[in-house]
Symmetry: C2
Subunit: 135 residues, 2 copies
DNA sequence: TATTGTTATACTCTATAACTATA
DNA sequence: TATAGTTATAGAGTATAACAATA
């Protein structure tokens, strides 16, 4: 049987390639979308926490947040309890931008999973979520 | 439900991070292992065909094959039928190097899938192979 | 004219270390 | 002293175009 890593990497590459132009049409990079998605679930207590949540480097997150803030999609506020930290949250514009992008992304994902039956799709998504949550 | 792309990308990143040192212990990079794996199934009729088979750039494959050839793991032969093409195949040393690395990689994969039951693992691998084969 | 292999170049992405301000 | 955020820089990875040999 073929390697798990090879199959996964191939699928990810194909998905990224399909999603990239769709996100760009919304004015978002892949990492920008990842950040907005995380913030849509809940605001970040610090930039470091956000970096860990999306698996991104904290030093690169800075420039990304600069752009997102300038575009009016997120706001950074100093945490009154610990003035070293920045609380990061979506603006209303950020929320709607994310929702619009997500609808298109979701359509692409369903297309990718088209080779599977509806039941299999649910199973696959569920198993994937379990594996991704592990660490 | 969480994004498919985000879950997949996270799993791939985790798997790569775990596999990279294991492969390095065998003197292989991730792409070197991908190339050996493809050649282990069948020799490549051309470098271009190998590049497509593993989803790698043809211009970067050249340096990779230079290293693998110097290490005695693969050989390049001009195709007598089309002297532009190079047929690429594993040497006996390449075959055994790949088999040894693959055994270790397989153990890592089983570990990653540990959160799933044996039945689910089979289902997951099967669905993944179908999705990866699509294109 | 088109394709395979190749080289060179520029560009992006990523990792590391060092600095500041707060704690 | 330790941590959050920041900056700068070097290195790895990647994409693109151009060329020689062959078809």
């Amino acid at each position: 049987m073929t390697d798990l890593g090879a199959s996964l990497a191939r699928i990810v590459r194909r998905l990224m390639k399909a999603e990239e132009p769709v996100l760009r049409a919304h004015g978002l990079s892949m990492w920008a979308y990842a950040a907005l998605s995380s913030l849509a679930e809940r605001p970040a207590t610090s930039q470091l926490a956000l970096a860990k949540a999306i698996g991104y480097d904290k030093t690169r997150l800075i420039g990304l947040l600069d752009e997102l803030a300038e575009a009016g999609l997120v706001v950074r506020e100093r945490d009154p309890a610990d003035r070293r930290s920045h609380i990061v949250r979506l603006t209303p514009a950020g929320e709607s931008r994310h929702a619009a992008a997500r609808a298109d992304i979701r359509a692409l994902e369903d297309d990718l999973l088209g080779a599977l039956s509806p039941t299999e799709q649910r199973q696959f998504r569920a198993m994937l979520a379990r594996l991704a949550d592990e660490s």
